[in-house]
């Protein structure tokens, strides 16, 4: 057991996936010698060669579009999108082609590819480098969408995403790339199935569902709340499509209250879907409305304002208090 950062855990996971399957290739901007702007692909080109770690021209639609062609030829491409806000030039290829290729062929072909996107704010960046666009892709049938929050999950989930025969959008919590956690690289423990949520912290009074970079905020909030005698059950959703509503519903049936927290704007965000679904499934168990804590319905603000924009520990606790007030 050793400490490792999320960035290095994803690197180690991709390394294992590439060792296991020679058809796995990585495509993206600046991923070779530089190792990516976040160094997530560091040293991979040195060890696997330029044929498998492919530095692409600077055009995102081209990256995803040619990765589709590689997948059609039998490869399993991992695509790196440099920043969340740069995925939009590839939006057409992802939504119209990646998501729809299999149904278009009536199941005769598959498109196993992973599109890695560093997501979210909190790094003091300029415009387009801090966005949370998961709802667009979770809304798109044909895609699977996952978000890791810690090194152990990052290590396993990237490998599971590569092994999936369906296309997977893989969100990486950008501001937490350098945060360390335990990872037993030699361990034989079977990882949790990719599309299952997990109880990150058990609790009794309120369920707090979240994912990605907000998991740490919510765990910290639960620690603070515990000092005030409030027991929060934190769920790390991990998968946004499919959404593991069973785990959420089971928790809500116990606690009677649900708060959903994410960086993305609450309007039509993941929280809206979870609130609606839980209202349908757990109506008689709910003691309060489902509370959403998220970004405001604005374009992501200049970085000097992002601390006000992003849900922080206090905003999460405020949401918890609102749920408990009923």
């Amino acid at each position: 057991m050793s400490k490792i950062t999320i960035g290095k855990a994803i690197n180690a996971g991709m390394r294992r996936a590439m060792e296991r399957d020679p058809k796995v290739v990585i495509m993206g901007e600046d991923i070779g010698k530089l190792g990516g702007v976040f160094r997530v692909t560091e040293n991979l080109q040195k060890d696997f060669g330029e044929d498998r770690i492919i530095d692409t021209p600077l055009a995102e639609s081209g990256i995803v579009g040619t990765a589709i062609g590689m997948a059609l030829r039998g490869y399993r491409p991992i695509v790196e999108i440099q920043f969340d806000g740069f995925v939009y030039p590839a939006f057409n290829q992802i939504v119209c082609q990646v998501a729809k290729m299999r149904p278009r062929s009536l199941g005769k072909i598959k498109l196993p590819m992973v599109i890695r996107i560093p997501v979210g704010g909190g790094i003091g960046a300029v415009e387009h480098h801090s966005e949370s666009n998961e709802a667009y892709f979770a809304h798109t049938a044909g895609l699977r969408v996952v978000a890791c929050s810690n090194p152990e999950d990052a290590y396993w989930m990237i490998q599971q995403a590569v092994e999936s025969d369906d296309p997977v959008i893989f969100y990486e919590p950008k501001r937490r790339y350098h945060e360390k956690g335990e990872l037993d690289l030699a361990g034989a423990a079977a990882p949790r199935p990719l599309f299952e949520a997990t109880i990150a912290r058990p609790g009794e009074h309120v369920t707090l569902a979240t994912y990605g970079p907000m998991v740490k905020v919510c765990l910290d909030a639960a620690t603070v709340a515990a000092e005030e005698g409030k027991s929060i059950e934190v769920i790390d959703l991990r998968s946004l499509s499919p959404l593991d509503l069973d785990t959420v519903a089971t928790s809500v049936e116990k606690t009677g209250r649900l708060v959903v927290a994410h960086e993305a704007s609450t309007f039509l965000g993941m929280g809206a879907e979870i609130a609606a679904s839980v209202s349908e499934r757990c109506f008689y168990h709910l003691e309060s409305p489902v509370i959403r804590v998220g970004g405001y319905n604005l374009p992501y603000p200049p970085s000097r304002l992002e601390e006000e924009f992003l849900p922080n520990l206090d905003r999460v606790l405020d949401g918890v208090d609102r749920a408990l007030a009923y």
Partner: protein, 395 residues
């Protein structure tokens, strides 16, 4: 003047050079650099570079080119009729583009791969795709549904130009498989990406040019310039002849008479040979004409003059090949009659096949969205099944 400004007064630009660059291509011939081996009158002419690529064609091959074109034109006409009768929701006619599609389609080897738009019925025919498969998406029973790997013919792509990137990526995969430049004619493979003049305005097409050039990918970009992108003439898409764009991306471009099946075959074969041997991409502009409407929903009388159509009728791809086959005694009356008979039979087959194409089972819409089970899809499938069942016996 700051350091990063470049002194480039307008008067320094060579006005004559610019004028030459943007000079309209003479409409009658498609430009001086047009590759042609068969004139509109059906006369064989030589080309210093490309004549060699048809030297091996037998008379049977030539008759085959004729048969292909006649049969797919008949399929196309039948499909248009089926749309008019309400049996298809839409049809995109290939009328006038038969030579461009058959000439290029027949230049492919079995291991090559084709990425079509939604109008490549002639290429599909050459690849051995059942024409009925093409009708499925236009009837609305599926979005394509054939197995692309069965004939190395990808599914139709409706979003303009998107498939050129898939083609380029597939060609990159061929490179990774070391199936380029080995010298083994059965191993070396290439990809052909079809698109139209309108698509040349798309970012994806231009990105595919960039990628193919940077990777030296074995892909042939085959642009059927049929002069019209729905209602917009090609001049709205490109200020220079389309084939000349290739130069800016760093690979060769050639304009071929798209209504001359021999020239299209020769030029495509040369480009595919080069790609397979590791020489990288090439752009072919097949200069042709969309004789019909964009689709059955379109009304070209609102935006183009009939005189233009009349001019292009004189360049018909099938008539010129028939004239050549006749004058050179490579085919006789019995052959032409036999092809007509075959076309009639094929039309009946297509019509009957279309009419007997069943609507898909409602529950099947939940199939094939994912390879692995997706809980939401399964829950909604079960919900829809239960909802549907609730009506049973309740008439």
């Amino acid at each position: 003047m700051s350091d990063n400004e470049v002194a480039m007064p307008k008067e320094a630009v060579d006005a004559a050079a610019v004028a030459a660059l943007i000079a309209p291509v003479p409409e009658t011939v498609g430009g001086a650099e047009l590759v042609q081996l068969l004139t509109p009158e059906g006369e064989r002419v030589e080309h210093p570079e490309y004549s060699a690529y048809i030297a091996d064609l037998t008379d049977e091959d030539l008759r085959g080119f004729y048969r292909d074109q006649v049969l797919i034109r008949r399929v196309d006409a039948e499909a248009t009729a089926l749309q008019r009768q309400g049996e298809l929701g839409l049809w995109a006619s290939l009328l006038g583009q038969e030579a461009a599609q058959v000439g290029s389609g027949r230049a492919l080897r079995p291991q090559d791969y084709a990425f079509p738009t939604y109008r490549e019925h002639g290429v599909a025919w050459c690849r051995g795709v059942n024409p009925l498969n093409l009708l499925g998406m236009f009837r609305g029973v599926n979005h394509g549904g054939w197995d692309p790997n069965e004939n190395n013919f990808h599914l139709y792509t409706v979003v303009i130009g998107a498939q050129t990137l898939h083609a380029t990526g597939y060609a990159m995969g061929i490179q990774h498989d070391h199936a380029v430049g080995t010298g083994d004619p059965d191993r070396d493979a290439a990809v052909i990406a079809y698109f139209g003049d309108g698509a040349t305005a798309q970012g994806d097409v231009n990105e595919s040019f960039v990628y193919a050039a940077a990777m030296n990918a074995p892909v042939v970009f085959f642009c059927q310039n049929n002069q019209w992108a729905i209602s917009q003439p090609v001049e709205r898409q490109s200020r220079i002849p389309i084939y000349q764009r290739a130069r800016g991306f760093g690979f060769p471009g050639v304009r071929v008479d798209g209504n001359d099946v021999l020239a299209v075959y020769a030029v495509t074969k040369a480009a595919l040979d080069a790609a397979r041997s590791g020489q990288g991409p090439m752009l072919i502009e097949a200069y042709t004409y969309r004789m019909g409407a964009h689709t059955t929903s379109d009304d070209p009388t609102k935006y183009r003059v009939s005189a233009e159509v009349e001019v292009w009728k004189l360049r018909d791809p099938i008539a010129r090949l028939k004239a050549y086959l006749t004058s050179s005694a490579k085919a006789d009356k019995a052959f032409f009659e036999a092809v007509e008979g075959e076309a009639d039979e094929l039309a009946v087959t297509v019509r009957e096949g279309c009419l007997s194409m069943p609507d898909p089972e409602p529950l099947s819409m939940f199939d094939h969205i994912y390879v692995e089970d997706h809980p939401l899809v399964e829950a909604e499938r079960a919900g829809f099944a239960a909802y549907s069942a609730s009506f049973e016996g309740d008439h």
